[in-house]
Symmetry: C2
Subunit: 87 residues, 2 copies
């Protein structure tokens, strides 16, 4: 399985903002792009990450299990970028 880092970053953003459109604004991508990211991630992992309910995007239990590692990835990527550009 090839992990797509962008999808995980989107996952993180959706969790943080609580909505696809919020993540869209935060990442500077369009809402359909974000929607596809989540679809792709769920499909590739064969895990339902969110409940599309009235109150927006609500994490499932399995989704919640991934939040920590997803944040690890995004933060290590960020620190890679910081160090690389600082050289």
């Amino acid at each position: 399985m090839t992990i797509q880092w962008t999808l995980i970053r989107t996952f993180d953003a959706v969790v943080k903002t609580g909505s696809l459109s919020g993540a869209s604004r935060q990442l500077g991508l369009t809402q359909p792009a974000i929607s596809r990211h989540i679809d792709l991630l769920e499909e590739q992992l064969r895990i339902q990450l969110f409940q599309r309910s009235h109150e927006g995007m609500r994490l499932t239990a399995k989704g919640a299990d991934l939040v920590t590692v997803a944040r690890d990835m995004t933060s290590s990527a960020t620190s890679f970028a910081r160090i690389a550009t600082g050289l």
Copy 2:
């Protein structure tokens, strides 16, 4: 700057194996693909990562500074994959 995770994984593999062809074997990609990965990464970061010398691919000082964070990224990606597939 959008970080390409695949490029960083390749960087890590080249460091580990000491050659492009070694990384190619390890990752199951062709040698030209690996070569391009390193080119792209160096170009995007505007950093020379390796000295193409007689003894193969030798890390530069700046390249060496990135090895640790690169390994952080790849290992956090690996643990993401492990946890995700284990759910």
